[in-house]
Every structure is written in structure tokens, then in C-alpha cells.
């Protein structure tokens, strides 16, 4: 019995949290329906830019070179996070887990080789 519904308090708290967030929104919506008519306008809906009229488009393109930083970050930072628990639990691992980890490493090392060939690792 106790083991079955040990998550019940959490579910109740979760529901309370959702209600706590949604009730004021619902009340505000009802209030605006009853008392405060919607009055959108050009200025009111405009993009806020310190009172100046906005110029140009906010949808600009970023340089594709940032992709390199992302992949090198994956290789050197995220890989470490996985390598450490892998090394700690190494002796107790099954063969399947070892192969899976090697495939994961291979994918990242592939990226490293690619980046190396591109000359990204050379400081200029």
C-alpha cells in the first residue's frame, strides 16, 4: 500500500503548483473579459526598443563557424563527463556496454579527426 502511492504527495504538490500558476492567469483573463476591453494598436504591439522605432529584422543569420565551437566543445567537455564514470565502472561492465561506449567515443573521435584536418586546432 505505502509503496504503491508513495508518489501521491508529489503529484498533489505538482497539481497545486500548476494551479498556483494558472489561477492568476485565468482570473486575469476573466477580468479582462468582464471589465477591460482589448485595445491593441500599432505602437502598443510594436517591438520595444527604448522608445525608438525598430529598424530592420531581428531574424539575422549567424556565421556557420560557430558550429566548430559546438563540436569541439562536445569532444573535449561532454566526452569527459562520460569518460569518468566509464573509467570508474570499467571492471564491472558487460561487453555490450563496452562496445556501446567505444562506438560513442568513435563518433566523437571522428569529429576530432575532422576538425584536426580542417586545421581548427592550430592557433593562428
Amino acid at each position: 500500500m505505502a509503496a504503491d502511492n508513495s508518489y501521491l504527495p508529489i503529484i498533489i504538490l505538482l497539481l497545486a503548483a500548476v494551479a498556483f500558476a494558472l489561477t492568476p492567469l485565468a482570473l486575469a483573463w476573466l477580468w479582462s473579459k468582464k471589465f477591460s476591453p482589448r485595445k491593441p494598436g500599432h505602437d502598443k504591439n510594436a517591438i520595444y526598443e527604448c522608445g525608438l522605432e525598430s529598424k530592420g529584422d531581428a531574424w539575422v543569420q549567424f556565421r556557420a563557424e560557430y558550429y566548430l565551437y559546438a563540436i569541439i566543445f562536445l569532444i573535449f567537455d561532454v566526452e569527459t563527463i562520460f569518460l569518468l564514470p566509464f573509467a570508474v565502472a570499467f571492471t564491472g561492465l558487460a561487453a555490450g556496454a563496452f562496445v556501446a561506449m567505444m562506438i560513442f567515443l568513435l563518433l566523437l573521435v571522428e569529429g576530432l579527426v575532422w576538425a584536426w584536418q580542417k586545421g581548427v586546432l592550430t592557433w593562428k
Binding site: F35, S36, P37, K39, P40, G41, H42, D43, K44, A46, Y48, C50, G51, L52, E53
Partner: protein, 203 residues
């Protein structure tokens, strides 16, 4: 509800209220000002929000960096003609209900720079001002007094009826025309809906 019955109930420990009172009470105690200053009056405004004068006592210490979150615009300082369209646009971008305090001689009339070719002679030419504070600059106490005056004004507002505020009226405008830079002056020179040229009669 009858006032006598109400005070009688209050003595017994039963407090009664109306939706209107609750609404006004909530709004008047959480007036978030828009964080911007135009000239030296802004220094006094900043002082008013700091520990010595402590605007937080009135629930108004949260100066918001975006007009979307602000209820109150404190026009603190000289409004130049270059800046006037931006001030009006910011006012338009604030969510209703919104209030304006014109702080200092410049914001209410142009002040010592009234004769200047580039100075707007009072922000009330373009947007409806709720409280005017004279002074050059007004001390923080004067700003606190303006706050309390505004709170009194809010407290007396009505939710329904002919005297209700602009945002509750579907017919009333939600935006005020933003002046443009004309050849010699701002065009239009004022918004006739909120400000009329005073008549001068010589006797």
C-alpha cells in the same frame, strides 16, 4: 453597503469590501515605475527609491526596464523636442492601466529652459498627466507626496459608469499620437485631446 453597518461590522471584527475597492487597493500599492530619467530630476527620483526615502514603502521600488511591465511613468526632467516622440511612444507601449507623474518644472512646463528652441513646454501637451510636481528639482519628499496623491486618485477610481478610467472604456483611445519632427517644430505641436492652448486675456 451602508457605511454605518460597515463600521459596526468592523468593530465586531468582520471586514467587508467590494471588488472595486479590492482592485484599487491592489493597484495603488503596486505601482511599478518605468525606469528612465531625462535630466537632473532623475537624480532626485533615484534618491527617493534608495534607503533614505525608501519608495518601497509605497510598493513602487521596482523600476522596470521595459514599458510592458510598468504601471507608472515618472517624467523626471527636461523633455527636449528630440526626446518627446520617444517618451510618447514609450507611454503608448505601456500596458493599461497606466499613470503619469510629471516631475519638476521642466516636465510640467519647460521650466527654466522654457524659452529654449529645443525644449518641450510640458509633457502634458502630448500625454495625460495625473500628478504634476513643481520644483527645480523637487525634493524626494515632493515625489513621495505625488505618489500619495496618485494613490488617493487611484483609490477613488470606479470600475463601471461614466467616470471610469480610459482603459475600462471600449470607446476611449488606447494610444496617443506620436509627434513627428517637422520643419521647424514637432508636428503636431500638441495633442488637442489632452491639452488646449490656454487663452490669455489682458484686462
Amino acid at each position: 453597503m451602508d457605511e454605518g453597518l460597515r463600521s459596526e461590522l468592523q468593530k465586531q471584527g468582520v471586514f467587508t469590501t467590494t471588488l472595486e475597492e479590492l482592485y484599487n487597493w491592489g493597484r495603488k500599492n503596486s505601482l511599478w515605475p518605468l525606469g528612465f530619467g531625462l535630466a537632473c530630476c532623475a537624480i532626485e527620483m533615484i534618491a527617493a527609491s534608495m534607503s533614505r526615502w525608501d519608495l518601497a514603502r509605497f510598493g513602487a521600488e521596482v523600476f522596470r526596464p521595459s514599458p510592458r511591465q510598468a504601471d507608472l511613468m515618472i517624467v523626471a526632467g527636461t523633455v527636449t523636442k528630440k526626446m518627446a516622440p520617444q517618451v510618447v511612444r514609450l507611454y503608448n507601449q505601456m500596458g493599461e492601466p497606466k499613470y503619469v507623474i510629471a516631475m519638476g518644472a521642466c516636465a510640467i512646463s519647460g521650466g527654466p529652459f522654457k524659452q529654449g528652441y529645443n525644449v518641450l513646454k510640458g509633457i502634458d501637451r502630448y500625454i495625460p498627466v495625473d500628478v504634476h510636481i513643481p520644483g527645480c528639482p523637487p525634493r524626494p519628499e515632493a515625489l513621495l507626496h505625488a505618489f500619495m496623491t496618485l494613490q488617493q486618485k487611484i483609490d477613488e477610481e470606479q470600475l463601471t459608469g461614466a467616470k471610469r478610467r480610459r482603459h475600462l472604456d471600449a470607446e476611449a483611445p488606447s494610444e496617443f499620437p506620436v509627434p513627428q519632427y517637422g520643419e521647424h517644430d514637432l508636428v503636431p505641436a500638441n495633442n488637442p485631446d489632452v491639452w488646449k492652448v490656454p487663452k490669455v486675456t489682458r484686462g
